[in-house]
């Protein structure tokens, strides 16, 4: 062996140093390994659940399944709003996705216009990650399958079967049911900082009007999800049906409406503008509530073009307005029933006679009647709708008493229908006038005696909507209860409170009977004698016509037929039937229709006939009488309905449903 170059003591010394330091290094290693083990224990034992959740969040992609919107049915189970399948093409942006390329590829599969392609590219780039954007709706089956075949090679592109709202009776229920429309920014803002993710789903629609809006929450249901295993690039590796969360269908809403009556009611309006309300006068159920002209709600679901909306909103006969609830009009002579009741309650003797010469001078004014009725009592005054009689009947009790009775019968009242849009109208009295003109000089706030005669014939400040007049008629017909209208029969199978569980009317039954008899005389031999006969054998209708001024007449002339549509009188007819055992009450308004007896009464008769013939007990009664059902009412100019004033512009308005 060669000589050691280092002395032994030195060897010992540095060997010692090495040993100590190697030991130190071993210690440091052990410390390091211990640190790693502790960190592992923290991550894998203490935080395991948290990371398992995160791993699942990576691994599984829950795709939202929008819930089927609840159906809306009529009282007999006829679908008024349902859903139909809709094949959609969606593109959701993913990390590292080339949006332009993807959209270009999609455009090879389905027809897309160049403008649309540009807009889609922008929309998809702007949308949040994984937020699907609707590229195409209502694809054909061929397009749908073509996209489905190619989808696996196009990450982010999916074709699915969504649902779209459909209204089988496009127009008849448009005002009551409303429609659904795309979620807009305001909906999102209203939903708060954490909106329900379903709102962002491209196929999702929210209720915009009527029942769709008022019951939007129960109709929505709860979204479900499909669980899919995805890789880091977002591609679906496999579906996991066991992990799916089923969507909860929206609640079914059943209305009290009857589709047949509703459809017929819209039909009889033709091109006229107006509203009709029919109520069951024992339960308060609203069987028909229609506003004419209407619009096709299905167009609103798709999204209305600006021009379409403009045409609808600018059309003089206001198809977008729900005239049954939101339109208020002077009730005209139909209000005489209230005046009569108020006078009777005030001790007025119905046998008291007045003589009508066609004019009634009062104070420094002269009030007119449409003709000279001669001498008559209250019964005949209702039958022939004599204004002169009712000027004086009104004066006998004053505005406050009339208003009290009118309000008790529902005029100027709001009802809990479940949907929005009612306008209260006005039933004036002294207190109302003082409050209403409180910012005017004191002499404008007092009720002048000269204002009472106008009120007596349902003019002046009196303003009501067709629903209120129908409620009034139903309460008159019921003869006992202050019925409430009910529009929504059940929500998700839960019955809504009936409109019959209400207190009695605060008037005497004899007085009610008196008014009802007078109303029967109206259709038997009075103002609506020619147009109020139902032709249903023993089933008779009692009613009251109304012809309400829509503006202040020029001095003298009370004829308005020759005037432009917007200046003509409003035609009213309120009725109930059968007269001897009242079941149904209705009110019909023909806006600017002229005479109540000729414009409103024939339409009311048609609606009432349809209503009565849907009642099996009524049909049995007619059959038992052996008189049969006449095809159309006898001795009536059956063409009256069709002689509706033509619309001012014969060009059809898009979306307007006559």
């Amino acid at each position: 062996m060669s000589e050691p170059s280092i002395f032994f003591s030195e060897v010992n010394e540095r060997q010692g140093i090495f040993h100590r330091r190697a030991f130190l290094m071993g210690g440091v290693t052990a410390l390091g390994i211990t640190a790693l083990v502790s960190r592992l224990a923290y991550l894998q034992l203490i935080q395991a659940q948290r990371y398992q959740k995160l791993a699942a969040g990576n691994q599984f992609n829950f795709q939202l399944v929008p819930p089927p919107r609840g159906l809306i049915l009529d009282r007999n189970g006829v679908y008024l709003a349902s859903n139909r399948p809709n094949f959609r093409l969606l593109v959701a942006r993913e990390r590292g996705m080339d949006v332009d390329k993807t959209v270009d590829k999609v455009a090879q599969l389905v027809p897309l216009e160049p403008d649309r392609i540009l807009r889609l590219k922008r929309d998809i780039k702007r949308a949040a990650l994984k937020q699907p954007v609707s590229v195409m709706e209502d694809m054909t089956w061929e397009e749908f399958s073509r996209v489905n075949v190619r989808a696996p090679e196009l990450p982010g592109v999916t074709a699915d079967m969504g649902e779209v709202r459909v209204y089988p009776y496009g127009g008849a229920f448009a005002h009551v049911i409303g429609y659904v429309a795309k979620v807009n920014d305001r909906d999102l803002a209203a939903a708060g900082p954490n909106p329900d993710p379903v709102l962002l789903n491209p196929g999702f629609r929210v209720g915009r009007q009527g029942v769709e809006r008022a019951f939007d929450q129960p109709l929505r249901g709860r979204a479900g999800a499909t669980k899919a295993e995805v890789d880091a690039r977002g591609r679906v590796v496999k579906m996991d049906p066991e992990g799916d969360i089923p969507a909860t269908k929206g609640k079914e809403i059943r209305l009290t409406l009857d589709a047949d009556i509703q459809n017929r009611a819209l039909e009889v309006f033709g091109e006229e503008s107006g509203a009709a309300v029919v109520m069951d006068c024992r339960s308060g159920d609203v069987l028909c509530m229609v506003s004419a002209p209407s619009f096709d709600a299905n167009r609103f679901v798709r999204g209305l073009l600006g021009a379409e909306y403009k045409a609808l909103s600018e059309y003089e006969r206001k198809p977008l307005l729900d005239k049954a609830l939101s339109g208020t009009y002077p009730p005209g002579s139909t209000f005489k029933t209230m005046v009569a009741l108020a006078a009777l309650e005030n001790g007025f003797d119905p046998n008291q006679t007045y003589t009508c010469h066609g004019v009634f001078p009062f104070g420094n004014r002269v009030f007119h009647c449409d003709k000279s009725h001669g001498t008559l009592n209250m019964h005949d005054a209702i039958k022939t709708s004599c204004d002169v009689y009712f000027y004086q009947a009104a004066l006998s009790c004053g505005p406050d008493k009339i208003a009290t009775v009118a309000r008790a019968f529902g005029l100027g009242q709001m009802f809990d229908l479940g949907i929005e849009g009612q306008k209260r109208g006005v039933v004036p009295d002294r207190a109302w006038k003082k409050a209403h003109f409180s910012n005017q000089p004191a002499n404008q706030q007092v009720w002048y005696p000269g204002e009472t005669p106008s009120m007596g014939i349902g003019q002046g400040y009196v303003n009501v909507n067709p629903l209120q007049l129908c409620v009034m008629t139903a309460r008159l017909a019921n003869g006992q209860k202050a019925l409430l209208p009910r529009l929504v029969k059940s929500v998700g199978g839960v019955d809504q409170p009936s409109g019959a569980a209400v207190p009695d009317l605060p008037v005497s039954k004899e007085h009610l009977q008196f008014v009802r008899e007078a109303m029967a005389a109206v259709t038997a031999s009075g103002t609506a004698a020619s147009s109020g006969a139902l032709g249903l054998g023993p089933i008779l209708m009692a009613g009251k016509t109304g012809t309400a001024q829509s503006h202040t007449y020029a001095s003298g002339s009370r004829k308005t037929e020759h005037l432009g549509w917007a200046l003509r009188d409003h035609a009213w007819f309120v009725a109930f039937a059968p007269y001897d055992d009242p079941r149904y009450a209705l009110s019909v308004l023909v806006e600017h229709g002229g005479f109540g007896a000729t414009a409103a009464a024939p339409r009311a008769r048609e609606i009432m006939r349809t209503t009565l013939l849907k009642d099996s007990e009524i049909v049995k009664r007619i059959e038992a009488s052996g008189q049969g059902i006449a095809a159309a009412a006898p001795n009536v100019d059956s063409g009256a309905i069709d002689k509706a004033a033509p619309a001012p512009d014969s060009t059809p308005i898009p979306g307007v449903v006559p």
Partner: protein, 384 residues
């Protein structure tokens, strides 16, 4: 043949005696880790031997044979080869610097016809050998604190700077730490070490400001708070922690780790293979593997300690330090305790270069064990 055979000159030079001196327990631990790596690579490939598991095991087998062969080589030859290996490594690093093959945005490889070599790997061995040889001839009082220590400091700094400039921060840190460990083992004043650490802390600010590349700084910053940028730089660490954490105690089962199987985990077969292991085999799997690593490191340190030559001691301990640093840095990185620096888990990760380096290192360690009674001198006579 017992250890006493080694004490008899002549007897201990027989290959059969040397072969019997190889530490087979140590070899078993290496095989277990490489095997675990093979299993994980098989799982990550979706239950397939290709593309990773089979090459990994095959390479390990070759490297294992190489290690045994290297174990037979006399320490004297290692000793003589020390400076030349270092010199070649340094020359290649300079060559890479001058004309490197750009791979993954960094110049790390040198393409020499059929072979692609990574000079930084040669340098890991060369540096340990060179430092061990230097300290072998250095009187202990000088090893503590003297101007002569500028030589090892330069030996460390040259390759570290070159590697850092590639830029391969992970390897540069590894080189500095390995070299530093050797200087401490060699007898460097601990007071100086303490002051040095303080100096390093003070130097961090200019280093961060002037030297680090943007992406390097970003990696370092995100490791502190990976959730702040889950889809950007924090992605690696966050996904790795998710993989680890979701493994729980028992793991999600072989082949069932969603993070690795569905590619959420980046570099799952190389740098982040430990996360895959953690996901599929859980805490128990992890501590078993960490136990094996700890056993290997401690056994190697023990081998270093029983060597009669200072060169043997330091070279074995130096290779052990390299290995231990790999394990610590990778472990800390995968667990979110250190920034992502691109240091693989030795023997477990897929990749031939690191495996070759580590196994050559263990060949040296094993040679130190086999030749533990040999004296090595810097004298000329020892060479032949």
């Amino acid at each position: 043949m017992t250890a006493s055979a080694l004490t008899r000159p002549g007897e201990r030079d027989r290959p059969i005696s040397k072969f019997q001196e190889i530490d087979w327990t140590f070899c078993l631990a290496l095989c277990l880790i490489a095997g675990a790596g093979g299993i994980m690579l098989f799982s990550i490939a979706g239950g397939s031997w290709t593309p990773w598991a089979a090459p990994h095991l095959f390479r390990f087998a070759l490297c294992f044979v190489l290690m045994i062969v290297l174990a037979m080589i006399s320490l004297r030859i290692w000793f003589v080869a020390a400076y030349p290996v270092y010199a070649i490594g340094l020359a290649l690093l300079v060559a890479v610097e001058l004309k490197g093959d750009i791979s993954l945005g960094a110049q790390r490889w040198l393409d020499l016809g059929p072979v692609r070599i990574q000079p930084s790997e040669i340098m890991k061995i060369g540096l340990v050998l060179a430092l061990a040889r230097f300290y072998h001839g250095l009187p202990p009082e000088m090893a503590k604190l003297s101007l002569r220590l500028l030589i090892p400091a330069t030996l460390i700094a040259l390759p570290a700077l070159l590697v850092a400039h590639q830029p391969d921060l992970g390897t540069a840190v590894l080189i500095v730490l390995t070299g530093g460990s050797l200087m401490i083992l060699g007898g460097l004043s601990l007071r100086l070490v303490g002051m040095g650490l303080l100096g390093v802390l003070l130097a961090i600010w200019p280093f961060v400001t002037f030297v680090l590349h943007d992406y390097q700084l970003k990696r370092i910053l995100t490791f502190l708070n990976p959730e702040s940028d889950p889809s950007g730089s924090g992605y690696h660490i966050l996904q790795s922690k998710i993989a680890l954490g979701s493994g729980g105690l028992m793991g999600r089962g072989f082949g069932l780790g969603s993070q690795s199987q569905l590619n959420f985990l980046p570099e799952k077969q190389t740098d982040f293979i430990f996360a895959t292991l953690a996901e599929e085999f859980g805490f128990l799997g992890c501590i078993s593997v960490l136990f094996l690593y700890a056993a290997i490191i401690l056994m190697a340190l023990r081998i270093a300690s029983i060597s009669h030559s200072h060169f043997g001691r330091l070279s074995a301990a130096g290779m052990t330090a390299t290995f231990a640093l790999y394990v610590m840095i990778n472990g800390a990185m995968v667990m979110g305790l250190a920034p992502v620096v691109g240091v693989p888990m030795p023997l477990l990760s897929y990749g031939g270069t690191v495996m070759l380096t580590v196994m050559i290192g263990f060949g040296l360690v094993m040679s130190v064990r086999v030749h533990r009674y040999d004296e090595v001198t810097s004298g000329r006579g020892a060479l032949l």
